[in-house]
């Protein structure tokens, strides 16, 4: 059960799946950005996969991450940067998790993205749940979703400049909308 989904993906998509790992009971597949929609549609529609339940989608910003290991024998769960990508390491990775209610299996999909080319195709046409989740990822990280019906900010206000969860946005940089004028009060 653990590797069956990954096997099926590798058999079907071959080169589009860059890497697969299984650790902590999670199955992870690193997928190339161009094939994401195809892989996701396969996972949803194939009766053996039947991943009808969207779990979450988010983005990780790896800027400045230096991995420390506690001991030589501590395993790394998932390589942060897939090793088979020829160009220099991408800064971001989109993370999706899908689950099947019928077969009780799930999978996590990671899509590496580089800084200059921060866009990925939307999955909100396959699962409506990703509509707001992709808006949240756009708001917080600035990932553009092609084909999204309504891509605007969800948590921050429109006048906000920047994408707050990126590692180079300082936590306490405020952009206030209104402040009190201290006249005679």
């Amino acid at each position: 059960m653990a590797g069956a989904v990954l096997e099926a993906l590798r058999a079907r998509f071959g080169g589009a799946i860059l890497e697969t790992t299984s650790a902590y009971g999670d199955d992870v597949a690193v997928v190339k950005r161009e094939s994401l929609h195809e892989v996701a549609a396969f996972l949803r529609d194939d009766p053996a996969m039947a991943m009808s339940y969207p779990c979450y989608c988010t983005c990780v910003d790896y800027l400045g991450m230096e991995l420390l290991t506690i001991s030589p024998t501590t395993p790394l769960a998932v390589p942060a940067i897939p090793s088979s990508l020829p160009e220099e390491a991408p800064r971001y990775a989109m993370v999706y998790e899908l689950r099947s209610i019928k077969h009780r299996h799930r999978i996590r999909i990671k899509v590496p993205l580089t800084e200059g080319d921060l866009k990925v195709q939307t999955l909100s046409d396959l699962w409506p749940a990703f509509n707001w989740l992709e808006r949240e990822t756009f708001d917080m990280y600035g990932v553009a979703f092609e084909g999204h019906p309504d891509l605007r900010r969800i948590f921050m206000y429109d006048e906000f400049i920047g994408h707050p969860l990126r590692k180079d946005y300082p936590k306490e940089r405020r952009q206030p909308l209104v402040r009190r004028e201290f006249s005679d009060e």
């Binding site: 946005y169 300082p170 936590k171 306490e172 952009q175 909308l177 209104v178 009190r180 005679d184 009060e185």
Partner: protein
């Protein structure tokens, strides 16, 4: 001379009436709202202080309780609600997020509601115990009686300025 004593006594009587019948507008945003519900509940009854029924319209209320974290996005809305209230009006900052921002010191949480509106009584606590809220209400009632709330002081200053210019 006699007129001033009469108006002062009238003023005291009006304040006495105001303090025991505060109509609250609970501007509830976050977790402190749960403690506000507990304060309104039978055990820590706020009704015995007269501030029982929340009026969910700023036009009909005189005590704005800012309950919970105010974010930058919420700022203009809070200001608008405060501006819509009729004088005299008082503000209680309920909880440490509304007082100073609490432990949320980040790009979205405003460091206190007093960045936008003048606050009369601050209640620390995360969330504050209902007894703290009742204590704050009693402090506010004292302020109301003595005429020291922000809007009361502003009104008095404006009236004195008008009288100074007029005569």
């Amino acid at each position: 001379m006699g007129l001033e004593i009469a108006t002062t006594k009238l003023e005291d009587a009006a304040n006495w009436g105001r303090k025991f019948s505060l109509f609250t507008y609970p501007f509830v945003t976050a977790c402190c709202g749960m403690e506000f519900m507990s304060v309104a509940a039978p055990k820590y009854d706020i009704a015995r202080f007269g501030a029982e029924f929340p009026r969910f319209s700023p036009r009909q209320s005189d005590l704005l309780m800012v309950v919970g974290t105010i974010t930058e996005r919420q700022g203009p809305i809070l200001k608008r609600v405060y501006d819509q209230m009729a004088e005299p009006k008082w503000v209680i900052a309920f909880g440490v997020c509304a007082s100073t921002g609490g432990f949320y010191q980040n790009y979205s949480a405003m460091p206190g509601a007093d960045q936008v509106i003048p606050v009369d009584v601050y209640i620390p606590g995360c969330p504050p115990r209902p007894e703290q809220v009742l204590d704050a209400l009693i402090l506010l009632m004292k302020k109301v009686q003595e005429g020291r709330g922000h809007s009361q002081v502003r009104h008095k200053r404006e009236r004195l300025a008008a009288r100074g210019e007029g005569g």
